[in-house]
């Protein structure tokens, strides 16, 4: 796609106001081509493990033993992260920690901008969330819109004593007054760039990839899409459940990582 690969400042209208067009990028950057699917590994498996262990200890410290903590992961990749944090905290504190998942699809503020999408699972632990400290867990914190939606969703489930936020990667560019309480890694990015968290449970490996961005208006570079979108899935097609459920549904032939490695 040679035409779209040279989207300098002002080339073509940006589909989303907050997309990459207004900032302008380095000329001739790669966009929407197969090699843009990969990226540079900024965290490897060991880094992710250490970051989660540190976050687990910070949660214990901040909540004085995590006695009333409920961890709620935001699908897709927040859920395995919540489980891992719960395991680590249990190991240290010797008591099991309730954890679950909180789907925020129905609370999104951009529902009308794309076709309806499939729902993720919501499992609130039997203990409930009333008068407890809820720690929301997500993979990437970007615009903050996902977290806003999650706060609304929590509101309909109960009344926690406090809500905190843990994220594996904070990439900046907040559009709402929201900050994380626990951060695995602060990753300064430009809005052109794409941050992708891959996890053993969903992607068969643990790594965080930073790649040069996609073309302006590409949903993969949409801050609204935040941590929830699976960048490999590309634009969502509302009525296809496979897009969301199987991150490997798209591009069966070209393995993004392997191309990325070669490039970087």
């Amino acid at each position: 796609m040679p035409a779209s690969s040279k989207s300098g400042p002002g080339t073509g209208p940006s589909v989303r106001a907050s997309g990459s067009a207004e900032a302008g990028g380095p000329g001739g950057r790669i966009a929407r081509s197969a090699d843009a699917e990969g990226g540079k590994a900024v965290l490897d498996s060991a880094d992710i493990g250490r970051a989660l262990t540190r976050i687990a200890h910070e949660i214990i410290e901040r909540t004085k033993g995590a006695g009333d903590v409920v961890l709620l992961g935001i699908p897709t990749r927040g859920v395995p992260l919540a489980r891992r944090l719960a395991e680590r905290i249990s190991q240290v504190e010797g008591h099991s920690l309730p954890w679950g998942s909180l789907d925020i699809t129905m609370y999104r503020d951009d529902l009308r901008m794309r076709p309806a999408r499939a729902l993720g699972p919501t499992h609130v632990p039997a203990e409930g969330i009333d008068r407890r400290t809820v720690v929301l867990v997500d993979d990437v914190l970007y615009s903050g819109r996902t977290v806003r939606a999650a706060l609304d969703a929590l509101n309909d489930i109960g009344r926690p004593r406090a809500v905190q936020l843990a994220t594996l990667v904070d990439r900046g560019h907040r559009e709402l007054p929201i900050r994380a309480d626990y951060v695995g890694k602060n990753l300064p990015t430009s809005q052109h760039e794409v941050v992708r968290v891959l996890l053993e449970e969903t992607d068969d490996e643990d790594t965080v990839l930073l790649s040069q961005g996609a073309a302006a208006g590409d949903p993969r570079n949409d801050p609204d899409a935040d941590s929830r979108s699976d960048p490999r899935a590309g634009p969502r097609d509302g009525w296809r459940s496979d897009v969301r459920d199987d991150p490997r549904a798209e591009s069966p032939g070209d393995s993004p990582q392997h191309i990325a490695r070669g490039q970087s």
Partner: protein, 307 residues
Amino acid sequence: MNRHLISAGDLTRDDALLILDTADELARMSDRPIKKLPTLRGRTVVNLFFEDSTRTRISFEAAAKRLSADVINFSAKGSSVAKGESLKDTAQTLEAMGADGVVIRHSASGAPHRLAGWVRGSVVNAGDGTHEHPTQALLDAFTMRRRLGRLEGLRVTIVGDILHSRVARSNVLLLHTLGADVTLVGPPTLQPVAVDTWPCAVSYDLTATVPKSDVIMMLRVQQERMKAAFFPSVREYSRRYGLDAARMGMLPEHAIVMHPGPMNRGVEIAAEVADAPRSTVVEQVANGVSVRMAVLYLLLGGMAVPA
């Protein structure tokens, strides 16, 4: 997937499974203290009911309200239809009011199809004549999957007045798409003419079919649509095609008994069968709300797809 839901046959396997999976997630919400989602805030759903209905209309109304849509109920009685207004004029009125979704029940087969050509919003068929009732088929499939854990390879027997049944038509299409094996049972006079072209088996012998069923779905004899004598007497019909305790005893251990309602106790289903633990009649009503929420969300929740 289309913008409208007119026929169960329009749904691909993926579409149907997406609706059922979405309904599964939404069903979990009914245990919550606040049974409401903000998803369809600011959208208008019109319930356009030209034919009497309690279950379906209330179900659609509850579904739309739980998604925070504004609901306008319209019934033919007490409206300008009683003064002779045509469907097209009614459609233009809806258009002027800016309805995002129209749920229509009509005694004429094909009315929702016509309406879909006249309005910009999504049209959901809530039963048209003797044609189709796709959300009923979806909630039936949902109930089967919840009770029995699967649909693939399930042996489903649908018994009774197939000829006049939109529920049977939609169920045959949907269950075929989802991989179940459907057998239609009823007197030859109540089987449609071209039933041999449908993707299902046909039988006239209920007693022989019962032991080979995982699901048995009893249909009401629709006297109001009958313009001729289709069977000698209600008593004879009930003896040959009604589900009584004796026949229920021949069902496999795990099998369930379904009925889309309203039931005629003592005709197609005995009272003791309708109230048996394996009867899912009440469950079907509850599941109806979740399934209709899923349909409304998937049709109206996202960006409008250009026609």
